[in-house]
Symmetry: C2
Subunit: 206 residues, 2 copies
DNA sequence: ATTAATAGTATCGGCTCGATACTATTAATA
DNA sequence: TATTAATAGTATCGAGCCGATACTATTAAT
């Protein structure tokens, strides 16, 4: 009898676990749809597709090691051919400029124009989301931030995926005594502004 | 002097609020991308596009009032023409069947086939997400669920949007003394299974 | 009885996005 | 050092997404 009730318990626990997982997934998918539709709407006013707005947004939050077509490719999870096309359009429309890398002639760096920055300021975060966020109390905001951090970390860690995090959480980051910061990967010092940007080479502290 | 420091304080508070909002948005956008890419990958194995998988997924979690093309349209946030096309493809590929509504001859109901249910069982939640969720402790799962609930509620409420919730949180739901449930909108009694499905007519309790 | 609203379909064009094939440059290796 | 492999980026093609528009059929409103 004890064995049976233990078994029932196990099944129940598994069921509840599954339900919680399903619920988180369903919520995320719903949010994802709402977000994407908003980005589509916002971008449409400037003749841009959602994926193009997202590329611009990425370039506005990444550091100088991560502003290349390949980094955008990894962030958006598409193929480099696709991204190359999107970037071509964005350049033609005057939202970004390209310049070659000093050291590695294969690479180019992408730079947002004033028009792009203006566009992003107006559209990201999207109005609906922005409005909603302002109606959340401090406590809820913290809950959400923590929750999203948890899930993102696990997802990215469990898959050998690039994490695109900021220096503060990176194992290559070295804080000097005088307050300055050094990247142990590139051996370059980083400004305060730069420390807040996401990096393609980011690896979480073990 | 007091005035100045108060002003500085105000500016700082506004800045931190903005940063938190930006961070939540950035995280959500990143998660959204990861999710969409996974759905794309999963769907590709069956020759389906992401949006088609999402339509099937919606139909697997909605109740009998909400299994129409128009409801799918509202859930996915696209135009009805677009959705009509997607559904036609899904029907042709044997993932769903249509049947006319008894009362309203304009409406049709969509029903998933066995093949569709099998597909969903294998692909939703997506492998990567599923795996990640299992590596989260109970506490994190609750944090995330609560956080997402908060933000979804506010977003949907603040925009006169359909909330697509379950009966339990709906103002039309009436719990009888004998444990049975009635929908005050349709005046029909609802089974326990049905109570867990999302509804197009859902309105949160005031 | 007429008009308006709602559910759904059909068609078209611009765009996405993966697949493939290609060039140029740098890194690895024998 | 010569060869090979790996990496960054571009070009092109085709299947399919998606909004816009126009349409039919049915029900609701006046």
């Amino acid at each position: 009898m004890n064995k049976i009730s233990a078994l029932v318990n196990m099944v129940l626990i598994r069921y509840y676990k599954h339900m919680k997982k399903k619920q988180i997934y369903d919520y995320l998918e719903r949010l994802s749809n709402l977000l994407r539709n908003e980005v589509r709407r916002a971008g449409a006013e400037y003749g841009l597709q959602p994926v193009q707005v997202e590329a611009l947004h990425y370039l506005s939050i990444c550091n100088r090691y991560s502003d290349t077509p390949m980094a955008v490719t990894e962030y958006l999870g598409q193929t480099k051919g696709t991204v190359s096309q999107s970037l071509k359009v964005l350049e033609k429309k005057g939202f970004l400029s390209k310049r070659a890398d000093k050291n590695d002639k294969r690479m180019i760096h992408l730079k947002l124009t004033g028009a792009a920055k203006k566009l992003l300021k107006k559209t990201i975060p999207t109005p609906l989301f922005s409005h909603a966020c302002e109606h959340l109390d401090e406590q809820s905001q913290i809950r959400i931030t923590n929750g999203l951090t948890d899930i993102l970390q696990v997802i990215q860690r469990s898959n050998g995926m690039r994490s695109f995090g900021v220096c503060h959480t990176c194992r290559y980051n070295k804080k000097n005594k005088d307050g300055s910061n050094l990247c142990n990967l590139t051996q370059e010092s980083l400004s305060q502004t730069e420390l807040q940007l996401i990096c393609r080479e980011h690896e979480s502290v073990a």
